[in-house]
């Protein structure tokens, strides 16, 4: 039996000493595709940031099945968190992913450029490598950020609402790319999303965040129409 990709034991997370989530315990198995869901303001992003090591753990432990120093996780932030003042081409953005495995004074060479182009090809955007990043559509930017996460050669990929604010066609392209990475490369994926209908089609398990805690279960159990109607209303449950 292989070690889980991620194990949280009695974890409490919050800001400035104030607990937002308490007693969170679950494991994410190697190669699992997991959605992080819950009502607005429930603490989904807090939990994601805790799993990424961006928030100090107030109590409990988070264990990784990988050595984070040699194999850091891939991370796709919300694209609005990035500042468009930076003059960057698509290739420069993706190359940043390769910095994960470069030491100080080591520069991105041919291997890193090949890897970046390969990652762009995996999201179907290698043709626009030289274009300015900020001139792209929301859906394209999101796929570029996924390529950047892949350039870190991760075993664990965490995404913060990659389909927020993109059109339906782009949403399908993004979810297709993520699903392929999980199925074909065995990448463990944890995804924060509000797109319940699409998430229900692709994930096997769900981490449900609500009422200051989080539980993990199968998509069938946690995304039943009755439960969704209870939390989000009848429209979401039907969609």
């Amino acid at each position: 039996m292989t070690a889980p990709a991620l194990a949280l034991r009695d974890v409490s997370l919050g800001y400035d000493g104030r607990q937002i989530l308490r007693g969170v315990t679950f494991t994410v198995e190697d190669g699992e595709f997991c959605a992080l869901l819950g009502p607005n303001g429930a603490g989904k992003t807090t939990l994601l940031r805790g799993m990424l090591g961006l928030l100090p753990v107030l109590r409990g432990t988070i264990e990784y099945g990988i050595d984070r120093r040699t194999s850091p996780p891939g991370y796709v932030p919300q694209r609005d968190s990035l500042d468009p003042i930076f003059p960057l081409t698509v290739l420069e953005v993706v190359l940043m992913g390769t910095f994960a495995r470069l030491r100080p004074l080591q520069t991105a060479g041919r291997r890193q450029h090949r890897l970046a182009m390969d990652c762009l090809a995996q999201v179907g955007l290698e043709a626009i490598a030289k274009q300015p990043f900020w001139a792209l559509s929301g859906g394209q930017k999101e796929r570029i950020l996924i390529a950047r996460a892949l350039a870190a050669e991760p075993q664990l990929l965490l995404l913060d609402e990659p389909t927020a604010g993109v059109d339906p066609g782009a949403t399908v392209a993004i979810m297709d790319a993520i699903t392929r990475l999980n199925r074909e490369r065995g990448l463990t994926v944890i995804l924060v999303s509000h797109q319940l209908r699409i998430v229900r089609q692709v994930v096997r398990s769900v981490i449900w965040v609500d009422d200051g805690g989080a539980v993990k279960g199968t998509a069938e159990d946690l995304l039943s129409p009755e439960r969704i109607a209870d939390v989000f209303g009848a429209v979401a449950a039907g969609g």
Binding site: R49, L54, M96
Partner: protein
């Protein structure tokens, strides 16, 4: 002989001043690029003023601790450098620490810092009875008084700043563009921020001592803003900003020499003129592109 040929001749009387001016013009924008990208432009006003206060304070400190300071000895610039660097670095660290946890606006904090620094500079000078013309010149950044020794120190320190900036440019880019990703990758973001702030502190201190707060602020901000309009990649952004700064410094020196103008304002005015011209061309190009779009 034309003014240009005179300036370029090997035995030009103000050759050291010219070289010093161009060095400041080349290196300040390389640091200023991060001011623009991290949206810290107003810090570019406050920090040179803090640096000036540090210079004034260092002389008072020397007088209180050691005794009357004789101007003109070799340690004068070193003393001023230490004062300028310490005030700049401490100011930068305090302002950035407040930025992460404060509730007031960034502009308010920087505005208060500028007001305090300007008042302290004047008060320190007033308190020191030896605050004579030479010290005032040092605070104003009298570039024409640049000597071979001070030029050597300037070139060595600014050369080191450029080397470190380019050697660690991927780290500086990562923590500036996506700090969270840097932390996820296990990079020590606070350490890289600290190193960048140190480089900023050294550059501003040297810039203020060589060319004064006005010119230093001008070169920190104006060439990067111009370069931002014409470049699409990070490396070309930095290089074009540095080249624009160096060219403005040389052009400003030429205009000042030819037309008998004050040097610092001539350099900043020329750099700003380039910004306005490039900005107008950029706006015209965007307007034309919008008109072509159906």
């Amino acid at each position: 002989m034309s003014a240009l040929a005179e300036i370029l001749s090997s035995n030009f009387l103000l050759r050291d001043a010219l070289v010093g001016s161009v060095l400041v013009g080349l290196v300040c924008p390389l640091v200023g690029v991060y001011f623009v990208l991290r949206r810290m432009i107003f810090l570019g006003v406050a920090l040179p003023q803090l640096s000036a206060a540090g210079i004034a304070f260092s002389f008072i400190g020397y007088r209180v601790a050691v005794g009357v300071h004789e101007h003109g000895n070799v340690s004068e610039r070193s003393l001023a450098m230490v004062g300028a660097f310490v005030f700049t670095l401490v100011g930068l660290l305090v302002l950035t620490a407040f930025e992460r946890r404060g509730r007031e606006t960034v502009e308010a904090r920087i505005g208060v810092t500028y007001a305090i620094a300007a008042a302290l500079t004047i008060l320190f000078l007033a308190v020191d009875p030896h605050g004579d013309a030479e010290m005032v010149n040092l605070l104003k950044g009298d570039i024409l008084s640049t000597t071979r020794e001070s030029l050597t120190m300037l070139a060595s320190l600014l050369g080191a700043v450029v080397l470190v900036l380019f050697a660690f440019r991927k780290e500086f880019l990562l923590v500036s563009f996506d700090r969270d990703l840097a932390i996820v990758f296990g990079k020590r973001a606070a350490l890289w921020d600290g190193l960048l702030y140190m480089l900023i502190g050294v550059t501003i201190s040297l810039g203020v001592m060589t060319a004064g707060p006005l010119v230093t602020f001008g070169f920190l901000v104006v060439p990067p803003l111009t370069a931002r309009l014409v470049t699409r990649r990070m490396l070309s952004f930095s290089l074009v900003a540095a080249m624009l700064g160096g060219a403005a410094a040389f052009g400003g020196f030429y205009c000042a020499y030819r037309m008998d103008l004050p040097l610092g304002p001539a350099e900043v005015a020329l750099a700003s003129l380039v910004l306005f011209v490039v900005g107008a061309a950029s706006m015209a190009r965007q307007a034309a592109a919008r008109m072509r779009t159906p």
